[in-house]
Every structure is written in structure tokens, then in C-alpha cells.
């Protein structure tokens, strides 16, 4: 099963996405600029109209709610077209949620960082579950920045556990 342009377009008629439709264009553009800017670092400077992290988070939440609506059909698919549409909706919405969530700053505290990485990874997994282009290595590459944070957080959590045990 693929994330198709059709399913990406249709997700915009979902009630949760309708609720944030007024700011969606600006937030999408800001998220794309943030992603490219983050990938290129300081070598290329961009001027763009950024948005609040809160707004990005809210848009990501809207797509996550849309994903949740079709999650059961993704996990337990039936053969009818409604089930297939719901599953496609879940994948398309999770894909979009990941696009927004990955450009949010990683929290500095250990617990927040762990939650952020697991949450972002969770959005990523259903989004790429059935993509033809989603080879293992590509998935790992896309998740690598988050996995690196998870590893650091894991070490910190392990240290914390040791200090409690000690």
C-alpha cells in the first residue's frame, strides 16, 4: 500500500484538517523551509516567514487525529473499499504529521527528548509502512537524527536508573 497523491489530497477533507485549514499553507511552507534549512546548516542561509512551534505542533496533532481515525483499518484491513480508504487515510495523515513533527525542536530535558523521539518515530512508522520507496536503509537514514537523540537520552536514562539503584 502506498501513500498516494490522491490520499494526500483527500486527507484535507477530514474534520481535523478542516479545523486548521486557515493556517495550513503558511505552516506547510515554514515546515519545508525549516527542514531544508536544518539539512543545509549554516552553509546556505534562508529567509522565510517562520511560524510558532505551537502552531506546528497543533497542525501535526490535527494530522495525527486524522491518522488515528483510520488506524484500525491499517492494522486490521478488510477487503472492502471503505477499509482500504481508511487505511490509506491513516498512512497519508501519519506521513503529513511526520513532515511537521520532524522540524520541531528536540526538547533539552531527558524525558521530553525521549517522548519526542518515540513520538516522531511512531508517526514515521505507519507513514512509511507500505511505501515502495521506503527501503530499510532510507528509513533508517531519515530517522537517524532522532535515533541519535534517543541513544543520548537512553544513556542519560541509564545513568539515572543507576543512580537510583545505587
Amino acid at each position: 500500500m502506498n501513500v498516494t497523491q490522491k490520499s494526500l489530497d483527500e486527507i484535507h477533507s477530514h474534520w481535523a484538517i478542516q479545523a486548521i485549514s486557515g493556517c495550513l499553507v503558511a505552516v506547510t511552507e515554514a515546515a519545508r523551509f525549516r527542514f531544508v534549512s536544518g539539512a543545509l546548516g549554516s552553509s546556505v542561509g534562508f529567509e522565510f516567514h517562520d511560524v510558532d512551534d505551537e502552531l506546528l505542533e497543533r497542525v501535526a496533532t490535527a494530522f495525527e487525529l486524522a491518522a488515528v481515525d483510520g488506524l484500525q483499518d491499517l492494522l486490521h484491513p478488510r477487503t472492502d473499499s471503505e477499509s482500504r480508504n481508511n487505511a490509506e487515510q491513516a498512512m497519508a495523515a501519519a506521513h503529513e504529521a511526520y513532515e511537521f513533527r520532524r522540524v520541531l525542536p528536540v526538547p533539552s530535558d531527558v524525558e521530553g527528548r525521549m517522548f519526542h523521539v518515540l513520538h516522531t518515530g511512531r508517526s514515521h512508522t505507519p507513514a512509511t509502512a507500505g511505501r515502495n520507496s521506503g527501503s530499510g536503509s532510507r528509513k533508517t537514514r531519515r530517522l537517524w537524527p532522532f535515533l541519535r537523540h534517543l541513544r543520548l537520552s537512553g544513556i542519560a536514562m541509564f545513568s539515572f536508573s543507576c543512580s537510583i539503584a545505587g
Binding site: A16, R58, Q72
Partner: protein, 136 residues
């Protein structure tokens, strides 16, 4: 979308100590009033997962849609359960403080429920007794 925090207190002081401190009712309601992180990140998503297929799904969609469009368009409730003599000083001062800086679209309600004297400590036993009768 309505969010709430509940505390019980037999404290004779007015207002009772449960209003104060890091996990006090005041701090918790201020968190709900000022932070979308507490409302949006946790509660709205938590309910979203459980609303799927529930009888209250339509109500959830309306409330969550309004919340997503404007996170200050919410109702907040602080519920205080007391077993002391009723008095407005249990809540009035704190309610006035919460009203300052409250977004215009946000409604905050403070509800104080007064039980007969010394009944809070007996509540767990009464609930267990009711549950026991139901199981029979």
C-alpha cells in the same frame, strides 16, 4: 472542549493547602489556561484515540475541531471536594487570580462540592462497598 482538575481536602484553612504548591490546583489550572502543550499534546490526542467508535465521537469531533482552530476556545474546571463548613474564601480569591490574564475565549469555572463533615476519609470505603454490591 472541557478540561478539569479535581482535588479533595479536609484542611480547615481557607483556602485549603491543595490550592498551593507545584502540583496544587492553582498551578494546574494556570497550566491548562496558558499552555497548549498540556491540553493539546496529551489530553486531546488521548481522547482522540478513545473517541474512535465511541458513542460520543461526534461530540468529540466538534469539540476537538474548535480546539484545533483556536486552542483558547475551551472551558476549564477546577473541582474542589471539601468536608468542612462551606465558605466562599475556599475559592473566591484564587478564582479572581485565575481570571487575570485569562484569554477572552476561555471560560474557567471553579466548583466546590461540600460533603458532610469528615466524610472524605470514608469515601474509599464507601466506593468499595458500592462496587462490591454491584458485583453481587
Amino acid at each position: 472542549m472541557a478540561f478539569g482538575e479535581t482535588k479533595t481536602s479536609s484542611d480547615k484553612n481557607r483556602p485549603p493547602q491543595v490550592w498551593s504548591g507545584r502540583s496544587g490546583l492553582k498551578k494546574q489550572l494556570e497550566g491548562l489556561r496558558d499552555s497548549t502543550a498540556i491540553k493539546g499534546h496529551i489530553v486531546v490526542r488521548y481522547l482522540g484515540i478513545r473517541a474512535n467508535g465511541a458513542t460520543w465521537n461526534a461530540a468529540y469531533m466538534t469539540a476537538a475541531g474548535r480546539y484545533l482552530a483556536n486552542p483558547t476556545d475551551v472551558a476549564l474546571f477546577g473541582v474542589l471536594v471539601r468536608d468542612t463548613t462551606p465558605h466562599e474564601d475556599d475559592a473566591l480569591g484564587r478564582a479572581n487570580a485565575l481570571a487575570k490574564g485569562c484569554p477572552s475565549d476561555t471560560a474557567i469555572g471553579i466548583v466546590v462540592l461540600y460533603l458532610p463533615p469528615n466524610q472524605i476519609a470514608a469515601l474509599p470505603g464507601k466506593v468499595a462497598s458500592i462496587e462490591g454490591r454491584r458485583k453481587k
